[in-house]
Amino acid sequence: MILAFRSYALPILPAICSRVLGYLPILVFCVVAVLFLAGTLLAARLLRHAGSGATDREPYECGNEPESFAHDHRFSIRYYLLAVLFVIFDVETVFLFPWAVMFDQLALFGFIEMMVFLTILVVGYVYVWNRGALSWA
């Protein structure tokens, strides 16, 4: 049983392994980047001026005493709308990527299929445009 499994798996396993192992350097780079940040922040902590203690720690407001803080206020709903639109469009992009890579195999059928998909997207896009969601003013 084990022997059979090994003879079956052996030709495939190295291929899978080398593909997954290709991501390992990215992980190594992440570790290096984090270590670089930690080192920089530590060096700054050791070297920096301690401060006289008299520094005004109020948030900047053109030299005036702030009457309120930023978190006391609400911000425009438009940013939220924009984020929702972004998610919709970005998901489309994610669909487009594998399609573009497989284009030669999918050929004409794939092209028409994707154009139908994009047409639906464009209908929504035109609707959103007409409703004024894309105009900031």
Binding site: L41, G51, R57, Y60, D90, F97, D104
Partner: protein, 360 residues
């Protein structure tokens, strides 16, 4: 050198050697001999070039032609007092700058600076080559938005909050046309591996900027907007928002935001060079008469690295040139440009590219 490597291979075994140790050496070279010095001198170059464009001299006191200025700047930023504003959200304030820098660095793990090894055991001029490299680049390029919005919100200052929100809105708005524009070269190359995309340009005999100039234009505009540079530097529009999301930052934390901005410039330029300007290829890669441009007298494919660097420098100069030339956009104009012009343009380009590919 090769004796030392052989001894290391003997000691660690092939897996650890090929996937951890060799990449670690490459990462150290890319980061500490490539990206970081480039950023330091890019800042100086920017100030010098802008000075030249405005008939000024630029920094010229520290060292000859101000060549030691970047080192003086780093020293200054390291010893500055660290101010965290009262009522700031401390974890967000601290995490913000880190989240801008780290992803920009990690992207360089998939950028091919030169050709893959010509022979077994030769040098490949990239840290790793994965089959979804472009997706990886896009995913990592999105992360700085979190850093900016966390820093802007965490400062609990009105200017920071508005700057952070604007910045996030701008970056996600231009990510959509950027993503659509990237599908053009993908259609031509048929692979998401960045090494594969450059090789596809060699096989096609021309850089993808020729058949995909519309995509290149959209990518260029979106890239400038993504890295918050002129004429789209609204997040830090001095005249209305003081310094935008980094108003409250001092010392090393400010330096990290600064580092992140320039690292992102280099990332966008590298991706543009790889996808549209033929990466490590010479100009006119199919014209046999120009093969002396391959610089094949240089060892181990170093000629490719020279070409990549040259194109990268041209791109970075264009960034500085933009800053010296264009006035800043208004925020509503910026949004309209992204959503009403760039997206339709990229979609039409996508449709036409697909049509031509089906036809041929």
């Amino acid at each position: 050198m090769s004796g030392l490597l052989a001894a290391m291979l003997e000691a660690t075994g092939p897996t650890l050697f090929h996937y951890v140790l060799v990449p670690l050496i490459k990462i150290a070279i890319v980061l500490f001999a490539g990206v970081l010095p480039l950023i330091m001198y890019l800042v100086l170059a920017e100030r010098k070039v802008l000075g030249f464009m405005q008939a000024r001299v630029g920094p010229n006191r520290v060292g000859l032609w101000g060549l030691l200025q970047p080192i003086a700047d780093v020293m200054k930023l390291l010893v500055k007092e660290d101010v965290v504003p009262r009522r700031a959200v401390r974890w967000a304030f601290v995490l913000g700058p880190c989240l801008v820098v780290a992803p920009a660095f990690v992207i360089f793990s998939v950028i091919p600076f030169g050709p893959p090894a010509a022979t077994e055991g030769g040098i490949s001029w990239f840290v790793t080559d994965i089959n979804v490299a472009l997706l990886m680049v896009l995913a990592l390029a999105t992360l700085p938005v979190y850093g900016i919005i966390l820093g802007g919100w965490g400062s609990n200052s009105k200017f920071s909050l508005l700057g952070g929100l604007r910045s996030a809105a701008q970056m996600i708005s231009y990510e959509v046309p950027q993503g659509f524009a990237l599908v053009g070269p993908l259609l031509l190359a048929g692979t998401m591996s960045l090494v594969g995309i450059v090789e596809a340009q060699r096989d096609l005999g021309m850089w993808f900027i020729v058949p995909q100039f519309v995509a290149f234009f959209v990518f260029l505009v979106a890239g400038v907007a993504e890295s918050n540079r002129n004429p789209f530097d609204l997040p830090e529009a001095e005249s209305e928002l003081v310094a935008g999301f980094h108003t409250e930052y001092t010392g090393i934390r400010f330096a990290l935001f600064f580092l992140g901005e320039y690292a992102n410039m280099i990332v966008v330029s590298s991706v543009a060079v790889t996808l549209f300007l033929g990466g490590w290829l010479r100009p006119f890669p199919s014209v046999e008469a120009l093969s002396f441009l391959d610089l094949s007298f240089l060892p181990a494919g170093l000629g490719g690295v020279v070409w990549f660097s040259l194109k990268l420098f041209v791109f970075l100069f264009v960034y500085i040139w933009f800053r010296g030339t264009f006035p800043r956009y208004r925020f509503d104009q910026l949004m309209a440009l992204g959503w009403k012009w760039m997206i339709p343009l990229a979609l039409v380009n996508l449709f036409l590219t697909g049509l031509v590919k089906v036809w041929v």
